[in-house]
Subunit: 342 residues, 2 copies
């Protein structure tokens, strides 16, 4: 009820050691469960620590031991819904390894990414998980020189610094194109975000166009957006593109959220999906489970990506084997109800 001390000086090991009558070293051993301590002193120490409300100072600990139990996780955005998913699979996997993820957000800006990376590396984490393969030269240099395991995730189309876990967005786009063509669609439009720094979306589009080209087809129209609620944007863009190019018979969206918006708009308009027009998105958001008509999409293996990445970091922080794994996962087409059955 009354304050333990007058001026609240933060507690240190010394306080606990004095309170329990043993040396700081022994207290440290007890608190870390490391080294031999008799059961009786262990009890004494724990009791004293609890009574004082002692919280160890990891800053000092990390400096002395040269070990930090943090893993830097750097992603472009939290509002994308994709990334929280990856994040949670990372933290699940890290749960009982003693490692802890720390998140940094770049807003799809390479400069911000460089900043965030610098900031995080200055805490000397035991590993870095970072989205994408495209970084500023300085950022890349930092990753190479950090001397810790680095896992670049989400994308395998390019050269990685160290380990890489992801899917080929190029091939994902290509496969989607093939599926669409196989289903008999020919007048195809693309709708996506304007962000020039979303390399994965760009690669999907490139792969998609390549797939179309193989069948001698070109994109009939495209529409881009920036900012705002993706669902609402999907709705607007769909209306816009169909007004401009009414004979489109398929719309490929760069993500599920705008795809879902487009789907809602089509349903509202009473358009026959997938007869008159087919739709597909990308990501496999479980959000889509809530629609009566299920949008075709491609599962981006987000959970698996996070898990593998975490495993690599955890594995390498124990045994210091030399890394450089590249794990390519295979995205799965989920045809849903918005592509005609062939």
């Amino acid at each position: 009820m009354s304050r333990p001390t007058e001026t609240r000086r933060p507690l240190t090991l010394r306080d606990v050691s004095e309170a329990s009558g043993v040396s700081e070293m022994t207290v440290s051993r007890v608190l870390r469960n490391r080294g031999d301590v008799s059961e009786t002193t262990r009890e004494k120490v724990l009791q004293a620590a609890k009574a004082l409300g002692y919280v160890p100072n990891k800053i000092a600990g990390a400096l002395a031991s040269q070990r930090v139990n943090l893993v830097a996780v750097i992603i472009p955005s939290l509002s994308n819904l994709v990334f929280p998913k990856v994040l949670s699979s990372i933290s699940d996997e890290l749960e009982d390894t003693g490692l802890q993820p720390v998140v940094g957000v770049t807003n799809y800006s390479p400069e911000k990414e460089e900043q965030v990376l610098y900031e995080m590396l200055s805490w000397r984490p035991s590993g870095v998980i970072i989205a994408g393969l495209e970084h500023t030269p300085a950022a890349r240099a930092m990753l190479e020189n950090a001397g810790i395991p680095v896992v670049e995730i989400m994308d395998v189309d390019g050269e990685g610094v160290d380990s890489v876990v992801g899917i080929s967005h190029r091939r994902a786009g290509l496969h989607m194109a093939e599926a669409i063509i196989a289903a008999g669609y020919r007048r195809i439009g693309f709708l996506g975000s304007k962000m020039p720094e979303d390399h994965r979306a760009r690669k999907r589009l490139e792969g998609f166009q390549e797939g179309l080209a193989k069948a001698g087809i070109e994109l009939a129209d495209t529409e881009f957006y920036a900012g705002g609620s993706a669902l609402a944007k999907g709705r607007e863009m769909t209306e816009t593109i169909l007004k401009r190019t009414p004979d489109l018979d398929f719309l490929y969206y760069s993500n599920d959220m705008i795809g879902a918006g487009g789907l809602l708009w089509c349903l509202d308009q009473g358009i026959d999906v997938p007869g008159r027009i087919g739709l597909a998105g990308f990501n496999g958001l479980d959000l889509l489970d809530g629609f009566s008509v299920r949008l075709a999409t491609m599962n981006a293996c987000r959970g698996e990506i996070g898990r593998k990445a975490a495993q690599i970091i955890a594995g390498r922080s124990q045994s210091n084997m030399i890394g450089g794994e590249v794990i390519e996962l295979e995205p799965v087409l989920e045809p849903g109800d918005t592509i005609r059955k062939a």
Copy 2:
């Protein structure tokens, strides 16, 4: 192209100081922009640091200066969509204060919260922003003894440790009840999550029931869920509750996501909304902008909450004024299209 050194020993201030021919202290001053350094040496040092690829060690810096530029932000979940929003407003507000948010997630578990808090406090952050007012006794004690500004956010119905920024969920529920009754609805059902630790949802329900009681009405039926895609669950639950109690004329959902699922189901079924049945959710997700029929909801001021909380932390970390502010924000009813006009 070739590695700078054979065995890559992490760089220290000493390396930079040797490379630039000045003392470590001067290098430190340059890198922190603190104290007087002549322009010429500043240049020399910066150049050396860049050439070596030096990244400062904040661990050592923090230990020496007893200052850490981190703010712990502790929230129940990242998949709720509400919290990423709060997070981003916090980090926007902190952007140019030199402070940096670090996120911890509790999964709505008080024990996990206690763990995460302990973990974060052991890094000696300059402040804590934590969701909710309900904590374990140990967690509360830690917050009280940490000697740093603490802001509990989202909720004001209860006793805070230090500062509090949020809305009254009890009153939010109550107001929603009044609005619904004013619109002429009488057979009212509630649909929500089963989580016993979601105190804010509980308080909304209590306030809602209180509002109904004032008009001499009781909840006609309730339905709860746990886990899974909220949109899909909303759909299922709505079907279930309406099968069980067909004469309900209003459904109050504990969040917008399940509300949206319910709305989709009603539209699919061709049910007249808001004539035959009214619907309302809670949170004001901008996701809802994408629907042709807009769900009634209540804006929970998430952006404002994050901003104010960050301001309090930032303000107090500069001038050490004594805290204890309580800021109650006023949620706004957004009637949308799913409540009859009175």
